[in-house]
């Protein structure tokens, strides 16, 4: 299967600010791909290049087999987009906006539209200026999800939704995946990405610093281990072991997963009485990539 999105070495500067600094991103057809990073990392800029709204300075981008800049209008028949900051026309009702965007995209399914309005508990008769941020987001979500498209590009689509609606959103995305649609989900909500995404790319300062399935990422990462041993043991010098806290017979540390085997042997030699191990959460993976930012700030 070809990739829905293939981006390599994408750069984009605004004046002296380098927003994208060589972004590589691959989204496979049929997967839900999490695009993870804090505000200002370059998520929205990448998406807007993919939509042909911005012209990249260098690098290549392929979207659904076409050039996102040159073939914008043709490609847009096959995708739907929910912006991070949804702005509606003040004097159009939500229902009118949903229909308009759907028709401009090439049609939408009236039954799905009705179901989605109900599931998201959205009143389509209110005028654009009277919707709250969350409701504006729902308008854009219903318009996108009710369209019959191959690719959904969602830029922080749940930032204004309450937990109930967030659950509805997750259910919808899982249905989209079951229907074979591809989803690029930009987010900074780690639990959402962890729950929904097949693969994840982490972007930092205009560069994708890590990409893969959560399992792969965890493999390259560390496991946290707490053990009670028969005899004290000094692990500080063992390769791959970090942040050791030892207290009598108890020891807690993180270990690189590729050194796990060797370290477990050392523990076994000392005699293991009890042991708990925790795979790293996405949050820890994420924080690791941003650790030096946190330190410098």
């Amino acid at each position: 299967m070809t990739d829905a999105i293939a981006v390599a070495g994408l750069t984009k500067s605004f004046g002296s600010t380098r927003a994208l600094d060589g972004v590589d991103l691959t989204v496979r057809t049929g997967e839900v791909h999490g695009f993870l990073g804090p505000n200002g990392a370059g998520k929205s800029t990448t998406i807007r290049v993919l939509l042909g709204l911005l012209k990249a300075d260098s690098g290549t981008a392929t979207l659904l087999g076409g050039d996102p800049w040159r073939d914008a209008a043709e490609l847009h028949r096959r995708l739907a987009y929910v912006p991070g900051d949804v702005n509606l026309w003040p004097n159009l009702s939500g229902g009118e906006v949903i229909d308009l965007l759907g028709r401009l995209r090439g049609g939408l399914d009236p039954r799905r539209r009705a179901t989605l309005l109900e599931r998201f508990d959205l009143d389509p008769t209110k005028k654009g200026r009277t919707y709250s941020k969350g409701n504006r987001q729902k308008v854009a979500l219903v318009a996108a999800l009710a369209s019959d498209v191959e690719l959904l590009i969602l830029d922080e689509p749940t930032s204004g939704l309450d937990p109930l609606m967030e659950a509805t959103f997750r259910a919808c995305i899982n249905e989209e995946r079951a229907d074979g649609r591809t989803v690029l989900l930009s987010s900074h909500i780690l639990s959402e990405v962890e729950a929904l995404c097949d693969r994840v790319s982490i972007i930092r300062a205009g560069k994708v610093v890590d990409t893969g399935t959560l399992t792969q990422m965890r493999h390259l990462s560390r496991t946290s281990i707490t053990a009670e041993l028969a005899a004290p043991i000094d692990l500080a010098a063992v390769p791959g072991v970090h942040d050791v806290v030892a207290e009598d017979h108890r020891v807690a540390f993180d270990v690189d997963n590729n050194e796990l085997d060797a370290v477990m042997r050392r523990l076994a030699e000392a005699g293991v009485r009890s042991l708990t191990s925790q795979p790293p959460t996405l949050e820890e993976l994420f924080l690791r990539h941003y650790a030096d930012d946190l330190v410098s700030s």
């Binding site: 912006p83 026309w89 003040p90 009702s93 229909d99 005028k127 200026r129 590009i153």
Partner: protein
């Protein structure tokens, strides 16, 4: 904490945000009278020349356009006659735009919510907006008065003219204060405010051309009847003050009774489904433009009717026709007296309609900065098609408004001279020849939208003001012809008096199209958002 806590901080914020805009307004309004007076001193150095020109401008046609000349034979009175109507319209516009910008716009965008959550009294935002606009009006009036005194005009008259400007500014700030309470949308509030201003001008034009009492219904009529340099009647300032205070009181009462973000005019729910026709960029553009366009059509119908109707008494004038015709020709008219008057009026109409042209054109940039273009371009909508759907209103809306104004003037004038068919056709054509000049402004706006989007708003409006100033005072200032020729409106044949020539209309249209094409080509290549 009182209802006014934080007013000072908000006022400083408003003045900081408007640190370029307001000084430009104030300088233009403040210096126009003294510049005009100085120029008149050169043009009419002797008592005889002054008397002569004073006789000429008591003609009804000029009275309808500029108001009556209350006393002949003095530079001051002549200056007041020439500039005061323009002054009060400009100061009124400045006050309306400033008050709406710092009250309803802030509220509609949600920025006020952020501020109101701080230590800020309930009435502080409205008070600060009124003070910002009011102080700008007072500053403009003060500069005008000082400038006239500096141009060796009598102090009393100079102060009166300055006071007329300042008090009218305060009044329309108060009117805008009320308008800002009525609607949720800043755009509608501005429309209400400018409609009141336009109505005041028309009432004055009707009254000054015919039944004088009608002029007394208009605040602009009051400002003129303060009579600077012509036996000042200071008590008219009392009328302005009473109305302004009443408006301020109403505004505060309304503001105290409504919720943040809400208006008083009810917000009706919309349809749950879009009409089948709402399926193209053009259909969307129609939805976005139709309110403004319909408002303008009504305004232009009244405008054309009133100005055409006031042409009645002009043929009866027994004065020195040649000189009046000469004066009118400076305003853009030509030919026999009535034709010259109608030509001048339609020339002004062209510039008024050009304000719509600029508004409609700049909608392009407005949609982009509001973030509403992005979701559209993420559909199969093409950039150029989207832009053309808005420019269509700048082009055809302009032509429609000119046609309505011309037909209105033709019907009103034709009914009086018993030639409805002939006059309507003639004035329809005479109005429509203004369209290519207005389209050049649309072209400038479209070119900037593509090439330098950040500058589009400022420069396009500035171009319109420049055209207005060139028409109003270009010849008085003795500007070189090439400066006057910069204005596209200077090239339009001065119908119905002059001969119809197609060449300037053609090349104006070509220039407009070329500018728009350059802008669209650049828009296709640039970043959006």
């Amino acid at each position: 904490m009182t209802a006014l806590t934080g007013t000072g901080a908000l006022l400083r914020l408003a003045l900081r945000l408007d640190r370029v805009r307001l000084p430009v307004w104030v300088l233009i309004i403040g210096t126009l009278p003294a510049v005009t007076a100085a120029q008149y001193q050169e043009l009419y150095p002797t008592k005889e020349s002054l008397d002569q020109v004073s006789g000429v401008i008591s003609n009804p046609s000029l009275v309808a356009i500029n108001g009556p000349l209350f006393a002949g034979g003095s530079i001051g009175a002549l200056t007041a006659w020439k500039v005061l109507v323009t002054e009060v319209i400009l100061v009124g516009l400045m006050a309306i735009l400033t008050v709406i910008r710092h009250s309803r716009v802030e509220e509609e965008t949600g920025r006020l919510e952020l501020l109101r959550a701080g230590v800020l009294g309930r009435h502080a935002p409205l008070t600060a907006a009124l003070l910002a606009a009011g102080s700008a009006g007072v500053a403009a009036g003060t500069i005008a008065a000082l400038g006239l005194i500096g141009a060796r005009q009598p102090a009393a008259g100079s102060l009166a003219l300055g006071a007329a400007v300042a008090f009218t500014g305060l009044l329309f700030a108060a009117v805008a204060g009320v308008a800002a309470q009525l609607t949720e949308s800043a755009r509608s509030a501005t429309a209400i405010g400018t409609a009141v201003l336009g109505g005041a001008y028309l009432l004055r034009a009707v009254g000054d051309a015919g039944p004088t009492w009608v002029s007394w219904l208009s605040p602009i009529g009051w400002a003129l009847r303060l009579r600077p340099y012509a036996g000042e009647r200071w008590w008219t300032l009392g009328l302005v003050t009473v109305l302004a205070l009443a408006c301020v009181a109403v505004a505060f009462v309304l503001a105290g009774r409504r919720d943040l973000g809400a208006g008083l005019l009810p917000q009706r729910p919309g349809p749950a489904r879009a009409e089948p026709a709402l399926r193209s960029p053009f259909a969307l553009a129609w939805r976005l433009h139709r309110g403004l366009l319909i408002g303008w059509v009504i305004g232009m119908a009244v405008w054309g009717g009133v100005l055409g109707g006031s042409a009645k008494g002009i043929g009866d004038a027994t004065l020195d026709n040649e000189r009046i015709t000469d004066l009118l020709s400076r305003l853009g008219g030509a030919g026999a007296l009535v034709d010259a008057y109608l030509g001048a009026v339609l020339g002004i109409t062209g510039l008024v309609v050009a304000a719509y042209t600029v508004q409609a054109t700049l909608r392009l940039r407005g949609e982009e900065t509001a973030g509403r273009l992005e979701p559209l371009l993420a559909t199969r909508t093409r950039r150029v098609r989207w832009a053309l759907s808005h420019l269509a209103f700048a082009v055809f809306g302009t032509a429609l408004l000119l046609a309505v104004a011309g037909a209105g003037a033709g019907l009103a004038y034709g009914a009086q001279v018993g030639d409805v068919g002939g006059q309507t056709a003639a004035l329809l054509g005479a109005a429509l020849v203004q369209a290519p000049a207005a389209w050049v402004l649309a072209g400038i706006g479209a070119a900037l939208f593509g090439l330098a989007p950040r500058l589009a708003g400022g420069i396009t409006w500035a171009a319109l003001v420049l055209c207005l100033l060139v028409l109003e005072i270009g010849e008085i200032l003795g500007l070189s012809q090439w400066i006057i020729d910069v204005s596209p409106f200077a090239h339009v044949p001065k119908l119905p008096g002059a001969d119809f020539t197609v060449a300037p209309l053609l090349w104006l249209t070509v220039a407009a199209a070329a500018l728009a094409a350059a802008g669209l080509a650049a828009f296709r290549r640039r970043d959006v958002g």
